[in-house]
């Protein structure tokens, strides 16, 4: 008996010892060191992205890896992390070692720049405001559109339950909010007070605020809550195709916002990992015809004329305004609407 216990306890001690040694060996498996240990030509990149890009980057990463291998003979493995754009930005600021960030809106990358992890002028480094693809905000409704939703003003009617993520954490939700605001401005001769009342009324109709776009989609689609989901166009298409064209339909509002999800290299991290070149190539690949094609196949609006010609018919024509013309850019919009004590805090009282 004594011996069994002695054996058992020494086993625990050994396990403990392994435990103590493990954290150090695991930190060896960080990309930077692992690189040195493996064959020198292997390389790893971490792309920290927002919620609805999962399917897109899964396809894109495969394509980039084979193209990179062809060009350089080097194996590249791309790791992915997804979540609400604001939350992901926070993680990178707190030390998540992303070589690349591909987020929902420029402000979230600005925040990383402010923390000193990349240069302030990041958005000028790539074409089209560093946004290789665009999207917009549309509505997803249940089949047959039982509540007869056609445009933004239908969302503020009483008895309409609207699903949107939380603008505090989700990039998509901030686009939703600004799209609604922009619509109200256009309807009311740019009267800010009327726009505020409109958006306030709209968010009164939102029963749950999920933290990310994907969470909202599952709330609407899987849990069956709400009459209309305000969503990224690509997310609406994906939900419809993944989960049944017989259950949902997309409604395109009269006006919406041109959403430009930007991409950039996190200089500080890439430098540390020695992955600057591959990270840059990864982003450049987004602008190639192949990258544009994959984006379009995943319902992002491509920038290239060729891809637009080929896939343009799948995207409905919408009258789009930009954040710069309507709100004076992201920094200003963030400060006025979404920062603590901003307009959103004022109008949304759960």
């Amino acid at each position: 008996m004594k011996k069994t216990w002695l054996a058992l306890f020494s086993m625990l001690l050994i396990l403990g010892a392994i435990g103590c040694s493990n954290p150090s060996s695991s930190s060896d498996s960080e990309p930077a060191k692992a690189e040195a240990e493996k064959k020198p030509q292997d390389i790893e990149l971490l792309n920290v992205s927002y919620d609805p890009t999962r399917e897109f980057y899964e396809a894109f990463n495969k394509s980039f890896a084979s193209s990179w291998k062809e060009k350089t003979g080097q194996n590249v493995k791309i790791n992915q992390s997804h979540g609400g754009s604001g939350k992901q930005s926070r993680s990178v600021i707190d030390g998540l070692e992303a070589d690349i960030v591909t987020l929902a809106l420029a402000y979230d990358i600005d925040a990383i720049a402010e923390a000193g992890k990349l240069s302030e002028n990041w958005q000028q480094k790539l074409a089209d405001n560093s946004s290789p693809y665009t999207s917009t905000i549309v509505f997803l409704v249940r089949k047959g559109n039982p509540k007869g939703i056609q445009d933004w003003n239908d969302l503020v009617k009483s008895g309409v339950s609207v699903i949107s993520p939380n603008p505090k954490t989700s990039g998509g939700a901030r686009w939703n909010y600004l799209a609604a605001w922009g619509y109200a401005l256009k309807q009311n001769n740019n009267d800010e007070e009327k726009a505020k009342a409109f958006v306030k009324k709209l968010f009164k109709n939102v029963p749950v605020l999920d933290s990310g776009a994907r969470g909202s989609t599952t709330t609407f689609v899987e849990r069956g809550i709400g009459d209309v989901l305000i969503a990224w166009e690509n997310e609406a298409f994906l939900a419809m195709n993944e989960l049944g064209k017989d259950k949902f339909e997309i409604v395109v509002p009269s006006v919406s916002i041109l959403a430009e999800p930007p991409v950039t290299v996190v200089d500080q991290v890439a430098k540390k990992h020695g992955t600057e070149e591959a990270a840059k190539a990864y982003l450049d690949y987004l602008y190639t015809e192949e990258g544009q094609k994959i984006a379009a196949e995943n319902y992002y609006r491509p920038r290239s004329k060729e891809a637009l010609e080929k896939y343009g018919s799948q995207f409905p024509e919408i009258n789009l305004f930009t954040i710069d013309e309507q709100f004076g850019g992201w920094k200003k919009a963030q400060k006025v609407h979404f920062d603590d004590g901003g307009v959103f805090d004022e109008i949304y009282k759960p």
């Binding site: 216990w5 396990l15 971490l46 790791n79 030390g95 992890k117």
Partner: protein
Amino acid sequence: MYVKAAADKKGNLVPLMRKWVLILISLTFVGVFILVPLAAVFFEALKKGIELYFLSLTEPDAWSAIKLTLTIAAISVPLNTLFGVIAAWGIAKFEFKGKNILITLIDIPFAVSPVIAGLVFVLLFGSQGLLGPFLEAHNVKIIFAIPGIVLATIFVTFPFVVRELLPIMEEQGTEEEQAALTLGAGGWQIFWRVTLPNIKWGLLYGVILCNARAMGEFGAVSVVSGHIRGLTNTLPLHVEILYNEYNFTAAFASASLLALLALFTLLLKSIVEWKSIKKRH
């Protein structure tokens, strides 16, 4: 007692009925809130066939999540066992100032929300945190890597072993140890031959509970993980990711694996309970 009550002077059956009503209520409650959801998990997981079930558990990301979860448990449980025994021993067998404060401190992880537990580590070890710049300068990665997940897990599972051992050790007092001491036993000898055999069932019970929580923890781990699939995704986080990717079968397959681990743990727990009761009588 109930036989007596059932046949009381008027011969009414109220106490007997009360017994069955109580049993019925508890059974319904357990059925609705525990058995049905559990069955639903397995039903969803196996809905599209057993092949897809195993396929979704063996694909690389799931497999790495399983391995990571087991690694985390293999590190944090032994450490907590060691700390737990030491702390419980110190508290139960010795008198010192601030003992009550120590006991209260040990309970903090039970009282604090796991999300806060995670955030604490971000505040400490994150780039903007207290120790962040120092760690980064020395290329040590804690947060958004395995060490961070281990720390968060240790934090939330810390009280299990101590809390299980304390009442047993306090109840037993120090007589046996003192007797051993007067017979000339050394410190280690006393621990191995007197203390440990007395607490072994309680210890095992604490270890099992600690392990169950270590493998199932979501909140704290979610905050410090960074959610990099294939690298820092534990099984509970993997379930969430799959669910969010409309990959319901795979999500529920992973969930069912967690549920199986939990059921297995409960089985072990019952055996330990049964054994310790048998031993006491």
